[in-house]
C-alpha cells in the first residue's frame, strides 16, 4: 500500500540524482570522495565558501555510471544547481553534471517515469 504525504511549504532537504558525463575521448575513474570534492569545488568557484560550507551529502554513489544521489538544504537548491551546471572541466578534460531527478522526497527518486518501459502484451 502507498502512503500519501502532504507537506505545507518546502521541506528542509532536497534530493538530487546527478550524473557526471565526460566529453568524447575522455574518461576518468572517480570515486565517491572525488565526486563530493568536485561538487564542493563547483560550488566554491561560483558562490564561494558561503555556499560550499553548507550541507552536501552523497547518499549513494555508483562508480560505474558515475551516478549519485545527493542531499542538500532546500535553501541552497538553486545555487548548487546553477553551480553544478556551470562546472565543465576536470584537469583539462571536458565534463558536465547532468541533473537527472530533483525531489524533496527521497522516495520519489526510487522510480523514474522517463525511463519507464511498458511491456505490451499482444493478445492476438
Amino acid at each position: 500500500m502507498y502512503q500519501k504525504i502532504v507537506t505545507k511549504g518546502s521541506t528542509d532537504y532536497c534530493y538530487l540524482k546527478i550524473r557526471l558525463d565526460f566529453g568524447k575521448d575522455h574518461d576518468a575513474i572517480i570515486d565517491a570522495l572525488n565526486f563530493k570534492q568536485l561538487i564542493l569545488s563547483a560550488a566554491k568557484d561560483v558562490f564561494g565558501i558561503a555556499v560550499s560550507c553548507s550541507l552536501i551529502d552523497v547518499l549513494r554513489y555508483e562508480k560505474s555510471s558515475r551516478t549519485a544521489v545527493i542531499r542538500i538544504y532546500h535553501k541552497y537548491l538553486t545555487k548548487l544547481w546553477s553551480s553544478l551546471t556551470m562546472y565543465g572541466n576536470i584537469n583539462g578534460a571536458p565534463c558536465a553534471f547532468r541533473i537527472l531527478q530533483v525531489s524533496s522526497h527521497l522516495m520519489a527518486l526510487a522510480n523514474n517515469s522517463r525511463s519507464m518501459k511498458l511491456h505490451m502484451v499482444y493478445d492476438g
Binding site: F47, G48, I49, V51
Partner: protein, 153 residues
C-alpha cells in the same frame, strides 16, 4: 529616471603599526579578495554592477574608511568585512561603525563619533602636551569632515 541607490559603510581600520597608513586601492583589494573568497565569482561580479564597490573616503590619521556598494548587496559586503585579516600583507581588520544611505549622513555621524571619543581619549592623556595634541588632532578631523559635509550638500 530612477536613481541608483547605494549603501555607505563607515569602517575603522584597526592595526598595530600606527605609522602605517593604507590608501584607497589597498582597502579596495583587501575587501574585493575577501568577497571573492566568501561569495565567489557571483559576489565579485555583482559587486561590479553600476553603483560598484568603491572606497569613497579614507582618513589616514584616524583610520576611517568609507565604502560604497549597491543597496541590495550591502549584506554581501558586510558579511565579508569581518573576515578581512590582512590589508597589504599587514595584519589589520575593519570595524564597522555606521551604515548609511548617503555620504552626508555618514560624515555627520563621523563628527559625533569623533566628539564622543574625545572624553575617553583625554582621560588617557597624562601630560598637558598630549592633551593639546589630541584636541588639535580631533578638531582637525572634525573640521575636515564638516568641510566635506558642506561640499557634499
Amino acid at each position: 529616471m530612477v536613481r541608483y541607490k547605494c549603501r555607505y559603510v563607515l569602517c575603522k581600520v584597526i592595526h598595530d603599526d600606527r605609522k602605517k597608513s593604507f590608501d584607497e586601492s589597498d582597502i579596495y583589494f583587501a575587501v574585493r579578495n575577501e568577497v571573492e573568497a566568501l561569495h565567489g565569482d557571483y559576489g565579485v561580479s555583482s559587486m561590479k554592477k553600476t553603483p560598484s564597490l568603491s572606497v569613497k573616503y579614507t582618513d589616514k590619521e584616524s583610520g576611517i574608511v568609507l565604502l560604497k556598494c549597491q543597496r541590495g548587496l550591502h549584506k554581501l559586503l558586510q558579511s565579508s568585512l569581518p573576515f578581512i585579516k590582512k590589508i597589504k600583507g599587514v595584519p589589520a581588520f575593519l570595524q564597522t561603525i555606521h551604515v548609511g544611505g548617503t555620504i552626508r549622513s555618514c560624515l555627520k555621524f563621523l563628527i559625533t563619533y569623533h566628539k564622543s571619543r574625545l572624553s575617553s581619549l583625554l582621560k588617557q592623556c597624562t601630560t598637558k602636551e598630549e592633551k593639546e595634541k589630541v584636541k588639535v588632532a580631533i578638531l582637525k578631523c572634525c573640521q575636515d569632515t564638516t568641510q566635506m559635509v558642506m561640499t557634499v550638500q
